[in-house]
Each structure stands twice: as C-alpha cells, then as structure tokens.
Amino acid sequence: MSQIRVLLADDHAIFREGTRRILGEYPDIAVVGEAADGEEALRVAGQVQPDVAIVDIAMPRLNGIEVTRRLAAISPSTRSLILTAYDDDAYIFALLEAGAAGYLLKTVPGRELAEAVRAVHDGQTVLHPAITQKLVERLKASPHAAKEPQEPLTARELEILKLVSSGLSNKEVAAKTGLSVRTVEVHLTHIFNKLGVASRMEAVLHGLSRGWFPVEGIRQAGERT
C-alpha cells in the first residue's frame, strides 16, 4: 500500500514536531517535508510534490490562503488541509475559493487529524464541527441564503448532493445509487452549474443554507465513514 505523502507547513516548530509524531503512528501516512513559512512551503511543495499539504493560516511571509491558492500551479495534485489555531469562520469562503479541501482546528485529537488527511486525500472535504456550526449560522442570516437557484435541482441531483454532504466519495455515491462514477460526476457538474459554485464544499454549504438537509448530516472531522 502506498503511503499518503504529507507536507507540514507551520511556523511553530513544537507544533510541527508534535504533528509529525502523531502522524508517525499511522503507517499509511508519511511526513515528507516541513516548512516554517509560506514561501518555504511553496518551495518544498515544488520539490516533493506531496499528496496533502497541512497548512497553517498565520504564517510569516505568505499566509495559508495565499499558499493554498498558489499550490494549484506549483503542485497540482496536492490537496491542502488548513490546520489553524483560530476558529474564525470568516476565512472559510476565501479558503474554499483558494481551493482548500479541509479546514480543521489544531486542537483535534491525533486520530481525527489522521482521518482528515485520508479523507482529503480521497477527494472529500472536511470541516471542523465548531466551524461548520458558525458557518451555518452565518449562512442562515445572510441575505442571499433564501435565494433559490434559477433552475431547481432534480430529485436525483438533490439525492447525490445529500450523499456528498454526508462525506461519501464519488465512488461510494456511485455504489449507493447504482449509477456509474462517470454519471455521478456529470450530475455533480450540473449541480455546480445550477448553484453557481465551483467545489463540492461550496455546493454542500449552499444546500445547507437553503435548508435542503440538516447540519447533522454533514460529514464532520472525526466521524468514521
């Protein structure tokens, strides 16, 4: 079994050290690089081409949002998982727009961190429960929360979005619905177009804000799939 190759970008050495030790307990995960600031993170990512980059937001020289945005060009196959000390939901949209695949607080226990690395590597998105909670509150209060998409989703599309929101990968959704993976992908593209969004995470958030499914249905970090 090939290992998930991880880059750790954080300006606090103790934190990097602790995280490396925790991930060391999981044989399917290997830390292949470390960086103490944003620019170094991009440089190392260019060299090692990691599968997952664990990125702090507050870093000297270049912040985590910028690092995430530029990673797409430097190391296209790298999925970035934000790991931050702050529970500011304000960052979420900027991060999603920059292409982040997950947003976790640094306080998550070791096992959840490892699971989040795996989930992100699988193509899923992961949000910390505390942040999801804040986000939903904000979406409910925001003026365009109630706005319906110009073209409503079909029953099938809604079903697929619900399954995606519960944390299933495309393959798992395909298995559950009896469709081919290819068909699931086509459905997702339609959903994105109708909602005017660019990522699975955004589609899920919009569904949440319109009350199509409850928060409890969302895959949270730490839940077992």
Binding site: A85, Y86, R111
Partner: protein
C-alpha cells in the same frame, strides 16, 4: 440758568413754578433792574394820567405803556419764558388801576387794553423763542460733550487693546492702527498707515474680510498676516463695518493664533503618535499571545483530546476528570483567541475590512442575543492598511459603546464602498445621549472612545458625525477617501 424741564409743563403750572423761583431770582441784580424799569414806567404812566398832563402830550401820552416793552424784552432775554411772562403780568397788574380810574371812555379803555395786549404778546413770543433757542443750544452742547467722552473712551480702548486693531477705508487703504497692530506686524504705526490691505493681508485675505462683514452672521475668520520681515502670522480676525462721516469703514480686530495653532498641531500629531504606538503595542501583544500562550494551549488541548481518545484503559473517574480539564482548557483557549482577536484581528490583515467587520458583527450578535445587521453596498475591496485599520477601529469602538451604553434592541452596521471613497455607519435604537459640542470635552471625564474615533477619522481625512438624543438612539458615521 433756568430749568429746561420747566418748558414742558402746562402753562398754569409753569406760572406757579416761575413764581416759586422768584425768591431765588431776588439775588440777581438784573431782576431788580427789571423791577425798577417796570415801576418807573408805571410811575410815569400814573404821573401823566393822574396829573392830567394828557392834553399837553397830545397823542404822546400813550407812550408810557409802550415803554413796558423795554423791561419785558429785557426779562425775556435774560430769564427766558418765565421772565417774559412774569414781567408782562406785573405790567398788566400795575396798569389795571390806571385803566379803571382814567380810561373811562370806551375808546381810551380799548386803546389802553390793546396796548397792554401787544406788550404781553410781544413778551410771550420773544421769551418763547429765546427759551427754545437756549434749549436747543443746551442739547447740542450736551450731545457734543457725550460724543467727546465716548471718542475718548474708544481712543483709549483702541490704544490700550491687547488685540491688534486695524481700520481700513472701503478701498482698502489703512486709516488707523493701534500699538498692538504695530507689535504684531513689526511695522511702525506711520509705516502701517501708509500700507494697503492687500499688502498686509494678501488679496485673498482682504476679500475674506470684505465678505465676512457682509455676511448675515459675521464670524471670526482666519487670515495670514504678512509682517515687515516677510514672514506670515496666523491670525483670527473679527471684522465689523463701521459707519462714519467719511463713509463706511472696516474695522478688523486681529488675534495672533500662531502659537495656538502650533499647539493644536502638536497635540494632534502627539495624539496620532500615541495612537500608532498603541496599535503597534497591540499588534505586538497579539503576536506574542499567538506565538506562546495560544500555541501551548492548543497543544495541551490536542494532547488531552488525543489522550482521551486513544486510552480505552483509563479508569472512569480519571477519564471524567481529564474530560473536565480538557473542557476548561478549551474555554481558556477561546478566551485567549478572543483577546488576541480584539487586540488585532488577523482577519483584518489577511482578508480586509469587509470580512473583518462581518466577523465582528457576528461575534457581537452571539454575545448580545440579537442580530446585528450588516449592510454592505458597493463592491467590497481592499483599502490602504491604515484606512482599513482606522475604519475597523471606529466600528469596533462604536459597537463597544452600543454594548456598554445603548441598551438597544436593534443595531445596524452599514459599510459602503464608492468610487474613491468608503464609509461606515453604526446605528442603534437604544437610549441615546446628548453629545457635547466638542467631543474633546469627554476626555475630562476619562471617556476616550468617541474622542479616539474622531481622531482616527481626522487622521484619515474624514469627519466623524455623531447623531444622538436621549430616547432617539445613536448614529455614528464617517466617510473617508479610499
């Protein structure tokens, strides 16, 4: 000298008044002279009539009564109305026995009466005219005396005034200047009065002076004065239009405000330095908080969570104890985060003003238990760092006041971005207050919030507007170039 007031009372009372002053007149030689003349004429009259000398005198026997005109006219000239009337009266009384005794025929009776009437009429008319003349002269003298007093007073004020006073003619020629004006400008008074307004105040200053005196509500204006050494002095001028015989004059009272302005500027740059230092300090503390306590709390929380999750073998009481410790550690971390965010919100630096305000209103909504509405208009964009920070701090402070003082049930924050400008407004429906005309006065009470907001607005070249009244809620707004 007679009483001026006497003329204005009714005739009968005037007579009584005149009679009451006879004893006083007795000290005047001219009074006795008049009495002597009257008695002399009366005696001559009686002598001619009683002695039966009318015939030899022929028509000249009428002369004695006519002679009464002399004392009557003399009394009128010296004692004015009362003299004329009283002398006419005494002549009439002294003549009455003559008329009754010797003018028995209708013709001579009427002739004698007519003569007397002429004497009394001439006396009254003459004395009345004299009285009027004297009165007018007296008034004129009094007025000119008063004028002299006030001119002296003005001259004293003008000379001794601590403020410089300049008097200009309508065409801008300098007509007068006081000693203080000499000190202020460095010119001699002679040199000054040879100058013209536009040389001393510059053309724009002279125009401002002219404009200010024609305004409905003349207010002090700020001018800069050119001294004899060519340097400029900042002055506050209070201008007035003075009407004189030579036409309208412009009087300008100037006060040197250079020192005042310098102090004001020093104070403002001091305030902005303090504010900058404070921001710097807050940023440093926030950074320190982030680097040390927040990071170690994060690690403690993670270790506790990992421990709780991975060790199934822990006895239940230990597990419960650890779970409690973890909860408290998370709470402490939350407090540290909030503390650091208030000191310096990283969202502001990373994402900008719009998202930072949004985060602020959300956090406040959670604390207040009702929604703080945020209205954004125009396209949100990044502004200069100082502008973002300044506007953010103004909103932060305004919301702090809402939380602390307003007791509101609704609060709205409006943020707008326009071409070249950006603005914010924070409005609540709480109890409101009466804002002092100068917010600076609040510092005396140790209240620094509104003053700080005003100062920040000023540093961004904007102006803070505070609209509030008891029971009417409060609205704070500012617009700045951005």
């Amino acid at each position: 000298m007679g009483s001026v007031a006497g003329i204005s009372v009714p005739p009968f009372r005037a007579l009584l008044h005149a009679l009451s002053r006879l004893p006083a007149r007795a000290r005047d030689r001219r009074f006795w002279f008049i009495q002597a003349m009257v008695l002399g004429v009366a005696a001559l009259h009686t002598y001619t009539e009683a002695g039966g000398y009318q015939e030899p005198f022929g028509s000249f026997h009428h002369i004695p009564v006519t002679l009464f005109l002399i004392p009557v006219a003399y009394a009128s000239l010296h004692f004015r109305l009362e003299g004329g009337i009283l002398t006419g009266l005494s002549a009439t009384i002294l003549t009455t026995p003559n008329i009754l005794l010797w003018h028995t025929t209708a013709f001579s009776f009427e002739g004698e009466l007519t003569q007397l009437a002429v004497v009394v009429a001439v006396g009254s008319l003459l004395s009345w005219r004299v009285e009027r003349e004297v009165r007018q002269r007296f008034k004129a003298e009094e007025a000119s005396a008063r004028l002299q007093v006030s001119e002296e007073k003005y001259q004293n004020l003008f000379e001794a005034a601590g403020d410089a006073i300049l008097v200009f003619g309508a065409a801008g020629e300098l007509l007068a200047a006081n000693a203080a004006a000499g000190r202020l400008t460095g010119y001699t008074l002679k040199g000054l009065t040879a100058m013209r307004a536009d040389a001393l105040l510059q053309a724009s200053g002279w125009e401002a002076v002219q404009r200010s005196v024609t305004a409905d509500l003349p207010k002090p204006i700020h001018l800069s004065l050119v001294t004899n050494r060519g340097s400029q002095v900042a002055v506050e001028a209070t201008c007035a239009l003075v009407h004189s015989q030579e036409g309208p004059l412009l009087q300008a009272v100037l006060r040197d405000v250079t020192e005042q302005q310098r102090q004001q500027q020093n104070l403002q740059s001091y305030a902005s330095l303090v504010m900058r230092a404070q921001e710097e300090e807050q940023r440093r503390i926030a950074r320190e908080l982030h680097d040390v306590p927040v990071q170690s709390m994060v690690l403690i929380c993670r270790d506790l969570a990992t421990l709780l999750q991975s060790s199934d073998s822990l006895p239940d009481p230990v597990r419960r104890g650890l779970a409690g410790v973890r909860e408290r550690a998370e709470e402490t971390l939350g407090l540290l985060r909030r503390f650091s965010r208030e000191l310096r919100p990283s969202v502001l630096d990373d994402l900008g003003f719009g998202p930072a305000i949004q985060a602020l209103t959300e956090e406040l909504s959670r604390r207040l238990g009702f929604r703080v509405h945020l209205e954004m208009s125009g396209t949100s964009r990044r502004l200069a760092p100082d502008t973002e920070l300044g506007l953010f701090r103004i909103v932060q402070e305004a919301l702090r006041n809402v939380e602390k003082h307003a007791g509101a049930t609704q609060t709205k924050v409006a943020v707008y971005f326009k071409e070249g400008r950006a603005g914010v407004a924070v409005a609540d429906n709480g109890q409101g207050f009466r804002a002092p005309a100068r917010l600076g006065d609040l510092t005396a009470e140790g209240k620094l919030g509104l003053v700080g907001m005003e100062e920040r607005a000023r540093l961004l070249s904007g102006r803070l507007e505070v609209q509030s009244a008891p029971g009417k809620g409060t609205q704070i707004s500012v617009e700045v170039p951005a």
